[in-house]
Point group: C2
Chain length 270, copies 2
């Protein structure tokens, strides 16, 4: 399996603290040694770091941990390869432009032998994940035209996500820079931090942050992850089939789809 991390905030916020915890799981505190990647949106632009080396000893990961890159939407993934060789072309998040916006996609799970339906978008690598991403964007292009409103777009995304989740384990992060869509097939947690802010301690590294010192009373910052990243805060667990659309740090829409109860893949068996 892999580990996912996303952020949605109402003000440009860095991901240094959360990423520090996650990066430790990439070869140091966890088995996810087959690369990592992160997409930070800044306005319409996106800054992407991809590295097929373990995050725990990557110099680029070190910069991402220590250089505050401020974003209102970010999507991150550290990989333990199951389908597709270890290589840059198979490193999440995958990025494509759709209708003048960059979309980013990160996936935890497995859909055996999944192939994207024909269309504009084609996978570059050979993961099931990238096939699913291309399939999803091809569905969107086939169903709608540019300028479609978010509520309508959301319908096809939810429907597609539920269909994928019926074929295998499918925990999803998807962003277009404005919002972050999240879908839980087996395992996903979230936390929303807002005033009054307090301190927090990472589970995977001896690092504490006092959020009050780095925020204003108006800030709302939500973090979504595969497992809680801190040991002294309450993380809210998604139920299987649950999806949430995050924007500006808040849940804008949510729902639960009926999906099979897959057991979460055991890292030792992959």
């Amino acid at each position: 399996m892999c580990e996912l991390l996303a952020m949605s905030a109402n003000t440009p916020t860095d991901l240094c603290f959360s990423f520090t915890g996650l990066a430790r799981r990439g070869g140091a505190a966890g088995p996810h040694k087959d690369g990592w990647g992160v997409a930070f949106y800044e306005g319409r632009g996106v800054r992407v770091f991809h590295d097929p080396d373990p995050s725990a000893d990557s110099r680029i990961a070190e910069v991402v941990q220590t250089q505050p890159i401020k974003s209102r939407a970010a999507v991150c993934h550290i990989r333990q390869a199951n389908v597709g060789a270890v290589g840059l072309e198979n490193t999440h998040p995958f990025i494509r432009e759709l209708w003048g916006r960059y979309w980013s996609f990160a996936h935890n799970g497995q859909l055996h032998g999944f192939k994207a339906r024909p269309g504009v978008y084609r996978p570059v690598g050979d993961t099931d994940s990238e096939h699913i991403f291309c399939d999803l964007l091809n569905r969107i292009r086939a169903a709608y035209s540019p300028g479609v409103d978010d509520d309508t777009l959301l319908q096809v995304v939810v429907k597609a996500a539920a269909e994928y989740a019926r074929e295998g384990v499918f925990n999803l992060l998807l962003s277009n820079g404005r919002w972050v869509f999240t879908f839980c097939s087996t395992k996903m947690v979230a936390i929303t931090r807002r005033a009054p802010f307090g301190p927090a301690r990472l589970k995977d590294a001896d690092v504490t942050v006092d959020f009050q010192a780095v925020t204003t009373p108006r800030d709302v910052v939500s973090v979504i992850a595969t497992e809680p990243l801190t040991s002294d805060e309450h993380w809210d667990h998604y139920q299987p089939g649950e999806w949430r659309l995050w924007e500006d740090g808040e849940v804008r829409a949510r729902g639960v789809e009926t999906i099979p109860r897959w057991s979460h893949p055991d890292p030792d068996k992959l």
Copy 2:
């Protein structure tokens, strides 16, 4: 104007030396302080760094200068903004997937008010450069199907490049990971390094490298840039209208198109 840099090599080679020279021009030895970006291909994958801050004092640029990222095709750009605000979405190189490969595009020059023809690809930012890139890919998609051979593809690329160069200053780097297509409207130079390798000294920084110590006798590494990056080697100057297709460090095809003799834009006037 901006500065371009590309590499084509027959063996995975890092760009640290050349990038160190170029990065110095981004705010230290030159006026190109409005961001920089680089795309390194590794197999079918591409590792992209984009930074809207000056390269001369970017921590990410420092990593790119000191961490050997080995690639057989790379495209780099440092920007002095003329069209489009300084921002991540306007930072070259631009990347799109076409038929299962990542294409990257960097441009020096200006085509006033250029707009991409309608098609699959749409600009995210508001530079003429990204409009040209989308236009070019839309032309390719309209003219050909996946699997088209390189020679045929090259025809449309050369034709399009010459047309763009008739509308304004258009120095181009374009890569799909296998080859690097280069087009000179006003200013472009190249050097091919092969055995016997010697030392070289950067023009813009007090840095010397002994290529013999870091190469094998079979290596062929070509560097293409806006201006020579070293002071003690012979760089070959393109003529206006000249294009070269590089692959594995060698020129695979070349030609000269008839274009107007634009004067190169004066950085002080932009």
